[in-house]
Amino acid sequence: MKKEKTGDRMQQAMAHKKKRSFWRLMVMTMVLFAGAVVVMQLIEQAGNDGRVEAGDAAPNFKLVSLDGATMLERENYEGKGLLLNFWGTFCEPCKKEMPVVQENYATLQDMGVDFWAVNVGETPLRVDNFVNGLGVELDYPILMDTRSEVEKAYGIYNLPVTFVIDEDGNVIEKYEGELTKEKLMELAEKSL
């Protein structure tokens, strides 16, 4: 009789201990989990300084072309890949890369890749004069970001910069610098 009683007690103590271990584990897991969430959020924010980078979704925008004839919206783009370029007339490498892009634009289009060149908040007058002064006719669309909103949304810092965007609207690569023929083709391949 007495033996049974102690056995009972042992069992009770064991069950109690198990329950306690469970709660200890719960408390510690919950606190550490909350801590992990905070750290993850921090790491995410450290990478997100308001600039669109490779791996991010490309923000949507709607812009009117320089000639005022067409309006393009990122989300409505139906081709395969897209090279989204930002440029200004005051930027020397931008000026150099434009004829290169024009030369290869037909090839890009055959690949199913389009090239959109967004001007960063300049007047149509200035851009028009600049484009006319290039000496080559540009077939690809020049988009006018007159309110600098798209520039802000993409967090543009250095010019020129080209975002490689895939079919699903994700940024595959962000390339800062002048485009050469090789670079342009490489980026176009990546967008597919």
Binding site: M28, L32, G35, L42, G88
Partner: protein, 515 residues
């Protein structure tokens, strides 16, 4: 002497750990570990103040170069170890999380055993327990004397319990909960502080808004827009303002002294999107923000923080003078954001052929340095009534025109716009921080000002009485309070054992009183 910490209760973490869960638990339940964590956090925080944090360094240079350039190899080390972003570094947050865990574990580990021990404490204690207290005494005494002491203690607002001839008088037990209340406050405070990493609780962005411009506020996820109606920079003016004249001497010494930085603004809410992608805005309210007097809306505050010292040109006006007749045509105004290209002025027609917002000559041709209208220059052609066309390049302190031109382009005025740097902030963690801080303070006060005092009395043998006293703080004040009562009741006076033996009783660590 007995170890009366946690009233001799059996601390869970002090039992021999069995599973790994218990081992981790014991680790965090250790006060030593907690103190180490606090020491590391303090040391880390101190190091973080040696050089400025990244958010306070000038933005011209990336942080990777700035610290090296400014502080040499110490700066490089500082940057490499992540001290430039200390308070949001993963290891700093990690330490805080571990401290939070330690506080919670320590509290659970200690509170429950202590609570049970105090709740179920017996009135009658063993001789050994009584003699093991810091304040203890033995001598002649009777039941009547114990009764009398009980009454006297009640008058001092002790809670008196009797068990036959034994007496337990107790007051301010709740003071023992002070540390746990204080821990709860700290945990709430840390939780509040950590919630600041989530944009839903805390946002902080700087928006540059030019006068007349409307910008989407990133902090509100573009739900709200702000228009800068006017930026005001007032200087102290001792000559024209009587109030300011008082400071004339000081102002003369210091030069121009700004009196007020203010931005008048209008708040809009986005209600939809137009076909061309522009937002449909509905005016909410107009207001202004001054230094230290933010403009408030929703949960946000807009602070006047900076302004651009180089105002931009919004528009420029010109008139055309006929050198032969002296007649003046115009003036006409060129909007620099959205310029018209032809201006018909009666006899003459002016065409704007090009516009360089930030003029420079590059490679021998006119060009622009940036898209900002800081130093605009205009390329005009003037079509004369004779059918000829004259060219002019006009800029600030610059007029390149053919000497033979009949018509001269003259400045007639400018409209400039300043740019305000507005800090848009929201912080919903304040109530949490205040709550945590308040609870923390309440806990501190509870523990500091309400020492737990207990007095035990019991018969020992036929004629003798044992008296013992315990307090977790300030034993001499317990003595001062109760010794006169003992004396009055004719009971033996207790002695402070610690006065005689500074060293801990060797037994006290192994035998933790009775529980």
């Amino acid at each position: 002497m007995l170890d009366m910490k946690y009233d001799g209760a059996d601390l869970r973490s002090k039992r021999r750990p069995r599973s790994w869960v218990d081992r981790v638990w014991s680790f965090f339940a250790s006060v030593k570990v907690g103190l180490w964590l606090i020491a590391l956090i303090i040391a880390g925080s101190a190091v973080g103040t040696i050089f400025p944090q990244e958010m306070y360094i000038p933005q011209q240079l990336p942080a990777s170069q700035y610290y090296t350039q400014e502080y040499g190899s110490a700066g490089t080390l500082y940057y490499t170890l992540g001290f430039h972003n200390l308070y949001t570094s993963w290891w700093y947050i990690g330490l805080i999380v571990m401290l939070t865990l330690s506080l919670i574990v320590v509290s659970i580990d200690r509170f429950f055993p202590l609570y049970k021990a105090l709740k179920n404490q017996p009135v009658r204690r063993t001789d050994r327990f009584m003699r093991g207290q810091r304040l203890t005494g033995e001598g002649k005494g009777s039941d009547e004397q114990i009764d009398a002491l009980g009454e006297a203690l009640k008058a001092k607002r002790y809670q008196v319990k009797r068990d036959g001839d034994a007496l337990l008088a107790e007051k301010h037990r709740f003071g023992r909960w002070g540390p746990y209340v204080n821990h709860i406050g700290l945990v709430i405070f840390f939780v509040g502080a950590m919630l600041r990493v989530f944009p839903a609780f805390y946002t902080d962005t700087l928006e540059w808004v030019r006068e007349g411009d409307t910008v989407a506020l990133e902090a509100t996820e573009d739900e709200y827009y702000l228009r800068n109606d006017q930026f005001i920079l007032e200087m102290y003016d001792p000559e024209n303002n009587e109030e300011d004249a008082k400071f004339a001497e000081a102002i003369e010494k210091a030069g121009a002294v700004p009196k007020n930085y203010e931005t008048e603004l209008t708040l809009f809410k986005k209600t939809g999107t137009n076909d061309d992608g522009s937002p449909v805005l509905e005016e909410v309210e107009a207001g202004s923000t001054k230094v230290n007097h933010p403009f408030k809306f929703d949960k946000y505050e807009v602070y006047q923080e900076q302004y651009s010292s180089r105002p931009e040109f919004l528009s420029m006006s010109f008139s055309i003078g006929d050198k032969e007749t002296g007649e003046l045509y115009g003036p006409f105004t060129v909007d620099l954001d959205n310029p018209e290209t032809t201006y018909a002025l009666g006899e003459v027609t002016v065409s704007l052929k090009d516009l360089y917002p930030d003029f420079e000559v590059r490679n021998g041709v006119p060009d622009t340095k940036s898209p900002r209208a800081l130093n605009p220059a205009f390329f005009f052609t003037v079509d004369t009534p004779e059918g000829t066309s004259e060219t002019n390049l006009i800029g600030i302190r610059m007029n390149v025109a053919d000497d033979e031109n009949r018509y001269a382009v003259q400045f007639a005025g400018t409209e400039m716009a300043s740019t305000s740097g507005l800090r848009v902030k929201s912080d919903s963690t304040y109530p949490i921080l205040i709550l945590g801080g308040t609870i923390f303070m309440i806990g501190i006060v509870m523990g500091m000002y309400w020492p737990h005092r207990r007095v035990w009395v019991r018969r020992h043998g036929e004629t003798d009485v044992l008296v013992a006293g315990f307090t977790n703080k300030n034993p001499s004040s317990l003595r001062r309070e109760v010794s006169p009562l003992l004396e009055k009741a004719g009971l033996p006076i207790w002695e402070d054992q610690a006065m005689f033996e500074k060293q801990k009783d060797a037994n006290s660590t192994t035998e933790r009183g009775e529980s």
